[in-house]
């Protein structure tokens, strides 16, 4: 919990978050109290460590957690929170991706292949969002997330059995996967074994990734929550590889958006730097832990995160449709 004086002092100071130039940032630094800045930045960095840890374990960017944290606990305007969140997601993506690449869990070829449809879906989603009422989108995504989340929890044990019995190795590799050399292997530290896997249902995975992109474009979420189950359930890729590959894809997508935000001067560099450092630390710890945790535990955790996001989306949809506020939303 953030100390109350941080929030209250934060509201008293004339902080202008819409920075368009270096001069504006300098003005902000002159007007805001030095001690308050130290406390705010330090608190932000500390709060971001567990977020980074969770994001590293389940392959998400963390934007859906960061934005509510910055707006509800730190009193930042939503637009500034989103801008900081985008930069933080890039930091989370790069830190996670570099660690997982070092551990040789990430499948770069698969990541690039799926990134085509995800980014395309995100573009379509942004256009569709303008023509559809947003409560329908929230309710649709809530249904999908809760279903997939519960499914992940239910199938957690099956994942470990598949790894133990080397079932991922015996899956029939399709033509596209063969041509692009998408199949691979990784060292599972928890099982103390090298796990080989073959990629299947490549086209289905490519089309399903469009939905992850659509959700991302329509609702402003990262899409990592959907990419991991798509790779795992549709393309039959071990959940750890899916988590690592999702991280790699995330840093590519988010960096393009972050560049636009920075170029337009919407990012509060001071606060963004603090959140970036915090999330990096959390990611470094999370990436060390992930490969040592059994796959069923990761799947359970992912299921819980998905169900939580599903509930948040449901609450937003219900609120926009009827004005009724669900508890905890």
């Amino acid at each position: 919990m953030v100390p109350s004086y941080v929030v209250s002092e934060h509201k008293f100071f004339p902080i202008h978050f819409a920075f368009n130039s270096l001069d504006n940032i300098y003005t902000y630094e002159k007007h805001s109290g030095h001690n308050m800045q130290i406390m705010l930045s330090f608190t932000l960095a500390i709060v971001m460590i567990p977020v980074g840890f969770l994001a590293a374990l389940v392959g998400i960017g963390g934007g859906t957690i960061i934005v509510p944290l910055l707006t509800l606990f730190f009193g930042l305007p939503i637009k500034e929170a989103v801008a900081i969140s985008i930069v933080t997601v890039v930091a989370a993506g790069i830190t996670g991706a570099s660690r997982y690449l070092k551990q040789k869990i990430t499948n770069i070829r698969l990541g690039l292949f799926l990134e085509m449809s995800t980014t395309l879906g995100a573009m379509l989603g942004a256009i569709l969002a303008l023509s559809l009422p947003s409560f329908i989108l929230f309710l649709l995504l809530a249904t999908v997330l809760i279903y997939v989340g519960l499914n992940q929890i239910y199938r957690g044990k099956k994942e470990r059995e598949m790894i133990k019995h080397r079932a991922y190795e015996k899956i029939h590799e399709d033509t596209i996967a063969k041509t692009l050399n998408l199949s691979g292997k990784y060292w599972d530290a928890a099982e103390n074994a090298e796990i080989k896997y073959k990629v299947t249902n490549t086209l289905q995975g490519l089309f399903a990734s469009i939905t992850a992109g659509l959700a991302s474009g329509m609702l402003g979420i990262g899409g990592g929550v959907l990419k991991v189950p798509i790779m795992n359930e549709v393309m039959k890729i071990p959940v750890k590889v899916a988590v690592a590959t999702s991280k790699f894809m995330m840093c590519l997508t988010a960096s393009a958006a972050a560049l636009v935000y920075i170029n337009e001067g919407r990012v509060n560099l001071h606060l963004a730097s603090a959140t970036v450092l915090g999330i990096m630390m959390g990611e470094l710890i999370g990436t060390r832990v992930m490969n040592r945790v059994h796959a069923d535990k990761i799947k359970m955790l992912l299921g819980l995160v998905l169900a939580y996001f599903g509930y948040l989306m449901l609450a937003k949809g219900v609120y926009q449709f009827s004005g009724v506020k669900l508890p905890g939303a």
Partner: protein, 91 residues
């Protein structure tokens, strides 16, 4: 050197440089309290971080071309183009 090594080295280098610059930024902000320099350092750190994936994916495209993997090179090029277009659309 394989693809994973190249991408890993690129991302780690970008991450390390940005981490050093940001830490220096905080040093100047909270110990020396020099605002213009702090701002420049924060800006440089964040920009280094954000352009790192763009440089890495361009590097991967060059590797695919060198390895004569035409399908993967085409896919990587498509990703770069779509990311640029989506960035321009967001703007």
């Amino acid at each position: 050197m394989n693809l994973e090594d190249i991408a890993c080295k690129g991302l780690t280098l970008g991450l390390t440089i940005s981490l050093i610059i940001l830490t220096l930024g905080f040093f100047f902000a909270y110990i020396v309290h020099s605002s213009p320099l702090t701002t420049i350092l924060f800006y440089a750190g964040i920009i280094t971080l954000v352009i790192t994936p763009v440089i890495v994916i361009t590097g991967l495209l060059i590797v695919f071309i060198k390895m004569r993997e035409k399908y993967m090179a085409l896919i990587t090029l498509t990703v770069i183009i779509i990311i640029i277009i989506s960035g321009l659309l967001k703007r």
